[in-house]
Symmetry: C2
Subunit: 272 residues, 2 copies
């Protein structure tokens, strides 16, 4: 029933009814400052087409080399990002998927650019612009080892254990959302958090200047990372205040289809 | 022709002829001290059965958590280790495969224990012993972050970038090969090196007290990591001196079948 209700709500362009318990469990101050609310029904609601739109999606983790055989990574199967690329292509968009290392097949009808590091991913995204829609679903590593060794680092008895000095990686979402020229009309970020989900997500929405943020709780027991399902919150801003919409737990492909319908409505709604 | 010759050589229990160039390119001093030579033809040559044998194989990487969403890993698809487990099962052995995170299906007829960290892998291996044969094909992370954070580490502007102090992980191969009681009769290690392959492999064979070492060059351009093929060197010791045998580049499943034939011959040859 929840799924059917959510589908009807989406088709109507209204908010999905929130289960009573969904925010009651959350001790976040956002509960008071940003009540869960409907996003404004887009004028083009019901039309889920992205025909004629150019879409760039990032997906998967990045791998940041320590040496030729070792790396730092974020946990990410790429399932949600790949599903969004596939759903956007199915909705008629021309899609470029910039993917870190994943064990997934390339989605149908999508141009896939495979990258390894955050810096490679940023370069590939910039090469794929301009676009109407940018969806930053990849779990980009925030840091990389300052200097990757050319040869495998060997263990040496008696030697002190190594210390990895980390450097900040480029922020791909902020870089695209902050472009003065060639900013995609709709920039969508993802936030995977283990704690204070809505606070962290609301802060990210504002800090990164994106239009829509998809937040998911990847804390212990959520089974989201690598799993087939996802339970997301959508965050948007209306007159500067964050608005939150809770979606039920759904298959990642279904989350993707609903997100794409939302993106299409937002792009259509913003048309003159 | 090389493959056919190699197959004949294996069946005969003699060494595979080395291409003239295979060591000429290697500036290692091992070239002089350890000429490539045949291993002694095992008495049970030709019989590739592991019926009645208990085999423990490790495969894949380990993931060492930095926080709930980030980790350090070694590059490893698990293809070679999984293929060895499958080949051992096909040869009649009772096989336990202790696997780090991989994107591979469980091999048929094999009991699979999934683990994440090196410490988990060691515990699972020790729980799976005793065994006649232990094959350490996993790419175990040598180090782990000293303290994994319970919550996702947040970027903070103005704060210094984080430093990861690493701790040494347990050495699973050395722990099993060095057991005073319950040491498997045949302990096989793997060495993936980017430079000085044979020197590093010979040192590892001696240091870890294993009976056979499978060395592969994972340097730039080798395409071994994650690929379908592998070109290995087998190192054994005879009277304390390392002996090296070069195998041609083969599909990883074929490498696995030939290794299992060798293991069976060595176990049979060592019988009273």
């Amino acid at each position: 029933e929840i799924v059917a209700a959510a589908a009807r709500a989406l088709a109507d362009g209204t908010a999905i009814p929130l289960p009573d318990t969904s925010l009651a469990k959350d001790a976040s101050p956002l509960k008071q400052s940003a009540p869960v609310a409907a996003v404004s029904p887009p004028s083009g609601a019901g039309a889920a087409s992205l025909r004629g739109r150019r879409v760039v999606v990032t997906s998967g983790p990045t791998h940041e080399p320590i040496d030729p055989v070792r790396y730092i990574a974020n946990r990410s199967s790429g399932r949600q990002g790949h599903a969004i690329a596939a759903a956007a292509a199915a909705a008629g968009a021309e899609v470029v998927l910039v993917s870190g290392p994943v064990a997934l097949p390339d989605p149908r009808g999508v141009a896939v650019v495979r990258v390894e590091t955050a810096r490679d991913m940023l370069a590939a995204v910039e090469a794929a612009l301009p676009a109407d829609l940018f969806v930053a679903a990849a779990a980009v590593a925030d840091w990389r080892p300052q200097a990757a060794a050319d040869l495998k680092i060997k263990k040496r008895d008696g030697a002190p254990e190594p210390v990895l000095q980390l450097d900040r990686n480029p922020d791909i979402l902020a870089a695209v959302a902050g472009r003065r020229e060639g900013r995609p009309r709709l920039v969508v970020g993802f936030a995977a958090e283990t704690d204070a989900l809505l606070d962290h997500a609301a802060a990210k929405l504002a800090r990164k200047n994106c239009d829509l943020l998809v937040a998911n709780d990847v804390g212990a027991g959520s089974d989201v990372m690598g799993g087939a399902e996802n339970a997301v919150h959508l965050l948007t801003r209306t007159d500067g205040a964050p608005r939150v919409e809770a979606w039920p737990r759904l298959d990642k492909a279904e989350v993707a289809h609903r997100l794409v319908a939302r993106f299409a409505a937002m792009l259509d709604g913003g048309r003159a």
